[in-house]
């Protein structure tokens, strides 16, 4: 026993000693990436291939959400801070300012493609044909009452919303407010349907705050169910409940298209080609941001960018499309590839 005790003490002491000496930041051998959970599957795929095809180490990718990623990214320059952050929305002016305050003035913006947000239901029932207006009326907390005023959402079934829709209770499973998918859904689908009403659209100029609260507030009476950040869970729940609709990213529809089907929105089905050419109305752009100051300090960043901005990766037949990324058009891709090559600074 005494011998073991000495070994244990030695171990503990060495661990503490190591902790103390490593305080001075160690040079990093691999790229560190943080950010959006939507971009995570794509960033990790590229990271893995990059690690396999080059002599560099495989980058470490952390899924922190877009906002969390930018917060870490903008915390400063130096190896203890990440080199790249993924985002399922564009960087905000306030974030650029925060970055600048911490000495990060040179940021390269890279757009990688698009993601569609779908409203899907189980294949056991018929597919829905929705319009943006239906989505807004079914899910908003307050809806127009017909004479330019608002009322608490009275609709119980889809037929109440639109006579052409089935007589099924409104039940929609969606992500919680912390999710980027929810933000994008609210901005694109809810607001999209909301501003179809002329008087609400006019309100945007007069009273932006009231407009936002009307268009962006989701009802809380049980018709919209927050199902957590896990999209797989929503897919499973849809299978168990054929009457319900679920909101999630296109890649989950793509991977589970044998059990769930996407609703058409304004007559457009959530299909790969339709999202790519922009005719499907609920789609968003995906980005990542690179800290220019780290290029040259952390090995491999330029090569990683070259791996990403490559036809075999993000092109129409690139391997990211297998993972559900919707690529940009040829011209747009060429434009962004040129920006990546020249490491053009972000301009808002």
């Amino acid at each position: 026993m005494p011998k073991m005790k000495t070994t244990l003490t030695a171990l503990a002491v060495s661990a503490v000693a190591m902790a103390a000496t490593s305080g001075a930041a160690v040079a990093r051998e691999q790229i560190k990436i943080v950010g959006s959970s939507t971009v995570f599957p794509f960033a990790t795929t590229v990271a893995e291939r990059f690690g396999k095809n080059t002599s560099f180490k495989t980058p470490v990718v952390e899924s922190t959400g877009s906002g969390g990623g930018l917060k870490l990214f903008c915390a400063g320059v130096g190896v203890e801070h990440p080199d790249i952050t993924n985002a399922s929305r564009r960087i905000k002016a306030s974030e650029v300012a925060k970055c600048a305050k911490n000495g990060i003035t040179d940021i390269v913006e890279v757009k990688i493609g698009y993601d569609g947000i779908v409203l899907a239901n189980s294949r056991k029932s018929d597919p829905y044909k929705l319009t943006l207006q239906d989505v807004f009326l079914a899910l908003a907390k307050d809806v127009p009452d017909g004479d330019g005023k608002t009322m608490a959402n009275p609709y119980k079934t889809w037929r109440d919303v639109n006579a052409e829709l089935p007589d099924v209770k409104i039940e929609v499973l969606g992500p919680p407010p912390t999710s980027g998918t929810r933000d994008a859904f609210v901005e694109l689908a809810m607001e999209g349907g909301c501003k179809k009403f002329e008087w609400i659209k006019a309100m945007k100029k007069a009273d932006k705050k009231a407009y936002k609260s009307l268009c962006h507030t989701i009802r809380e009476d049980g018709a919209f169910i927050e199902a957590g950040e896990n999209d797989n869970l929503i897919v499973k729940k849809l299978n168990a409940n054929p009457g319900a609709l679920g909101i999630f990213g296109f890649s989950f529809l793509d991977q589970n298209s044998d059990s769930v089907q996407g609703s058409t929105i304004d007559g457009e089905a959530p299909e790969f080609e339709k999202i790519a050419d922009g005719s499907y109305p609920v789609s968003r752009s995906l980005f990542f941001y690179v800290k220019k100051a780290h290029i040259g300090t952390v090995p491999g960043i330029e090569d990683f960018l070259a791996e990403f901005a490559n036809e075999d990766t993000w092109g129409e037949d690139g391997y990211l499309t297998d993972k559900g990324l919707i690529p940009m058009g040829d011209e747009e891709r060429a434009e962004w590839e040129a920006k990546v090559k020249s490491l053009t600074n972000l301009s808002m």
Partner: protein
């Protein structure tokens, strides 16, 4: 013999109450065991799928025209693998269909071929039959998880691919093999390549740090508090705080780790060193409480006898009391570590919830942990990750059971009853 206690209604009620209580207890145990069984069986059932992996054999042209033996090391083999697929199914002409055809094999196929050639140079010089790992969708189709009826609807996997696999299977070129990769490789975006090893090593490194820090600190704290500390307000306050700390949600320790270990000490993010330090914060109170209980279990007569024989208090403690309490302390430590093994929340804050392919070789390299790996796989869109998730859960359960078993054995073997 007649009952000398008369069977009054009151007595009958008391007996009925007794038997009702017994039955309620039995039903409670039955229900909880039932839930446990349903959970284990359903996870185990899905996990079995991860133990095997579909392999597809192709005739690959490795003749001198295709591969220059002198340059095999630097060559990329993607084209050769694709050509082998086209040769096997020459009817596939359209670009889109060709892409689907290439999708039968894992993206790793070209590297697999290269590894096989570099390991066995004799493969070069002619057409050889080579086994490749299939892609994830081909794998679940070949195993029957993806039904033929469902096949026509998925974009990644159409009726054509199902037909190709059926054709290959008819020639005996499809095989289910034991999935060694699951136990020998790190994480991957491709379900067929994903393995548990990097997470397992990460967990072991974190636990090693956790044990090295929390065990000695924990038992010395316990010994001091129990044997030497004066009993006054301050020591009472400390005791209450330790008990409170044991009940603090683990995410709080994660936040503490983020604020102190990462931001103040500047230790590397995502490293098992920080992970272990955070976990040790979490297990320390448990160990201290368990160790104190063990020390209290040593009868005072032992202490008094040692003191009476002229031992100093420190000798009495370290020569007589602590050795007797040690098996119990170990048990407490192992139970605390088992809890640490299964915890994800504190690791979230310090960046261990990350995609990490390389297997960590030191305490400072980025690493992830078993429960984190489960979380990440459960969150992935690819269908084939479902069985990997279940398999990873089983691996975690095996480790938890092993640790708890070790704790029980230690206690049974070394425990001294007074």
């Amino acid at each position: 013999m007649t009952d000398f206690i008369e069977s009054t209604p009151r007595l009958r009620r008391r007996h009925a109450a007794e038997s009702r209580f017994r039955w309620a207890g039995r039903i409670a145990i039955f229900i909880s065991l039932g839930f446990l069984a349903v959970m284990t069986v359903s996870i185990g059932w899905t996990a079995v799928g991860a133990l095997t992996q579909t392999h597809i054999a192709l005739d690959v042209d490795l003749g001198p025209q295709a591969v220059d033996p002198a340059k095999a090391e630097s060559m990329r083999f993607g084209k050769i693998v694709k050509k082998a697929l086209r040769d096997r199914f020459p009817d596939v002409k359209k670009r889109k269909d060709k892409r689907k055809l290439y999708g039968l094999l894992s993206p790793d196929a070209a590297f697999e071929l290269k590894r096989q050639i570099l390991a066995n140079r004799e493969l070069l010089g002619g057409t050889r039959k080579i086994w490749f790992t299939s892609s994830d969708t081909a794998n679940i189709y070949a195993k029957g998880t993806l039904t033929t009826a469902a096949v026509k609807d998925t974009r990644q996997f159409g009726a054509e691919q199902a037909g190709w696999i059926d054709a290959l299977e008819a020639d005996g070129n499809v095989e289910q093999r034991f999935n060694t990769r699951f136990f020998t490789s790190g994480d991957s975006r491709e379900p067929e390549l994903a393995g548990i090893l990097s997470a397992l090593v990460g967990s072991m490194l974190s636990l090693a740090v956790c044990f090295a820090l929390s065990f000695p600190i924990g038992i010395f704290a316990a010994i001091y508090l129990e044997e030497f500390a004066p009993k006054n307000r301050i020591s009472e306050l400390i005791e209450i705080n330790i008990n409170n700390l044991a009940a603090v949600p683990s995410i709080v320790f994660g936040l503490l780790g983020l604020a102190i270990f990462l931001n103040v000490f500047g230790l590397p993010r995502s490293s098992p060193l920080v992970g272990g330090m955070v976990l040790s914060l979490m297990t320390l109170p448990t160990i201290i409480i368990a160790s104190r209980a063990c020390l209290r279990g040593v009868p005072p007569s032992i202490r008094e006898a040692a003191l009476a024989m002229g031992a100093s208090p420190i000798q009495a403690t370290f020569h007589h009391v602590a050795p007797l309490a040690l098996p119990g302390m170990f048990t407490g430590a192992i139970v605390g570590m088992a809890r640490a093994l299964g915890d994800t929340a504190p690791l979230l804050m310090i960046g261990m919830v990350a995609f990490i392919v390389d297997i960590p070789k030191s305490l400072l390299e980025p690493a992830t942990a078993l429960p984190v790996q489960i979380f990440l796989w459960a969150d992935s869109p690819e269908r084939a990750f479902l069985e990997k998730t279940s398999a990873a859960i089983i691996v975690l359960l095996v480790f938890l059971v092993a640790m708890n078993l070790a704790a029980i054995i230690l206690r049974k073997k070394f425990e001294i009853r007074f």
